[in-house]
Every structure is written in C-alpha cells, then in structure tokens.
C-alpha cells in the first residue's frame, strides 16, 4: 500500500478484447485515436519491454512530443509504460509552466473481457518522483474531484468581466 496519488480512468469499450488490443498496439490504428483533436504522428513504436513509442501531436505549426518506454507487454491483457514529456529531440523535458509535474508517469492499461465488450482501466502514478513532483500531482488530482467547480464559476465571472471591459487594460 502506498500513498502515491493515482489517476484512474475506467471505460467499457463495445468491442471484443482482441480488437481493442489491436487498436492500442497497431501504430496505424493508435495514431487515429490517441490525442484529442490533434494530428498524431508515431515516429517509432517498438512493442516490447524496453522498446519505445515516440509520439508527436501536431496542431498548426506547433507540436508536443512524448516518449513512452514499455515496461510490460502482455497481449492482450496488459500494457505498462513510463510516460514522459520530451523536447523535439526526444530528451525528457519539464514544462516551463509546470516544473514540478512528474517527469515520469508510470502508466498501466489493463484489458479485461466482459462478454462482447472490454473493460479498460488506465492508471497513472508518479514514478521515482521527488516530493515536489508527488505534491504537484496530488494537488492536481485532488483538484479534479473537488473545488474546480468553483474554479470554473470564478473563471466564467472573470471572462464575462474581461469581455465587458474589452480585454482589460
């Protein structure tokens, strides 16, 4: 039992497990759904422990790169990787806005047969993280469950104000 903050996302997909597994592990299919509303380019995808997945998400003339290093590959049940944000040369890089965001998120995806459907659970926890990284992730995770409703209410108010005054000063 650890007290590391954990992000958990459960989802049931209406497809047999082999098909869901294929959608996660065939880079041509993976690129079609991974990354919300961006163009995803998979530069390398070596599905084995120690192998890497080099991923670029593009929009306009900007892009965002990340490197995933597989730790466990158990077809068609389980994928484990180290998830890191990188610069365009695939070196691990902190986000300047978020210096204490965990450098490595240990990401586990499990696929469980459920009749004709598939239960997928994704978890992310900070890996070999500093106290500051753990605290940062913890605050962000806690913020998702509580308090952000009021964050949005305040934000709406402010945006109304900004619009009213023609973008501040």
């Amino acid at each position: 039992m650890s007290d590391l903050p954990e992000y958990i996302l459960d989802r049931v997909f209406d497809a047999p497990r082999d098909m869901v597994w294929r959608a996660w592990t065939d880079p041509a299919l993976l690129a079609r759904w991974y990354g919300p509303n961006v163009e995803t380019i998979i530069h390398k995808f070596d599905l084995k422990p120690g192998g890497v997945w080099l991923n670029e998400m593009k929009w306009g003339d900007k892009s965002n790169c990340s490197k995933m290093t597989f730790q466990e590959v158990v077809a068609p049940e389980k994928l484990v990787w180290h998830h890191t944000m990188t610069d365009t040369d695939w070196n691990i890089a902190a986000n300047p806005m978020m210096p204490d965001w965990p450098r490595i998120l240990l990401t586990t995806v499990t696929f469980e047969e459920n009749g004709a459907t598939t239960n997928v659970r994704l978890t992310q926890i900070p890996f070999e993280a500093t106290a500051a990284e753990i605290a940062c992730f913890k605050e962000a995770m806690a913020g998702m469950d509580k308090g952000w409703g009021s964050g949005y209410a305040i934000l709406d108010e402010m945006l109304r104000e900004l619009r009213g005054s023609g973008n501040g000063k």
Binding site: F13, D14, M57, M97, E139, G143, W148, S150, G151, M158
Partner: protein
Amino acid sequence: MARLDISLILYNIYVMEKIGYIDTPPNLDAVFAALADPTRRAILTRLAAGQASVNEIAEPFAISQPAVSRHLKVLERAGLIERGIDEQRRPATLKAEPMALAVDWLTQFREFWGKSFDQLDDLLLTLKQSNEQEPDNE
C-alpha cells in the same frame, strides 16, 4: 464555457505570450498550491464580484485580518491577484489569466484520455463495421 481541447489551450498560451498579454507563462505549481485552499478559493470568489480591501475581504470570514493578509500574499505570489498601491487600503483585484491557464491545464489532463477514448470508440465502431462487411476496401 466552450469546450476546451488540448490544441486550443496550448495555442492560446502560445498566442498570449506572443502578443505580450502574458509576459512569461505563470508557474502553475504556485497557482495550484494557491487554489488548493478553500479559504483562498472563497476569497477569489469574493474578488470575482469586484476589488476589495483586506477588511472587506475578512468580514464574511471567521478569520483574522492578518490571516487574510497571509492568504492574499499567497494569491499575489501565484499571480492570481493584484494589490493596489494605495498604502491604506491596498485593494485586491482578481487576475484572470493564471487561473484560466491552471484550469485549462487540469481540463487538458483530464480530457486527454477521456476525449482520446471517445475517438477510440469511433474507431472501434468503424473496425467492427468493416469486419462485418468483409474487409475488402480501406
């Protein structure tokens, strides 16, 4: 508020920097730490209704004026509020951008997988349909 997506959020930060609307992106760690406290969130809610002095802010709370001052200092360091130069009153004013970016960041993290999974749903439907009618075309 309109739906947010990762590209839009990152683009917004980029543009806001470019046009000088924000000089340097705020340190979101400090913003999160500041927002993690319910009293400080309540203070921000109060300030959303307009600027206020320390006394005015302290009034509805069961905490001392120095305690409110300490909270204001945390909020100011995070860039969430601005203090007036009037020595007596030093009215506090809400600043929208850092909070917008922090909320966007969280939204982006939360929605990254959620929205990707929606897209996976669509893909799986397509795969199933092409399986059913023999995969003879792409």
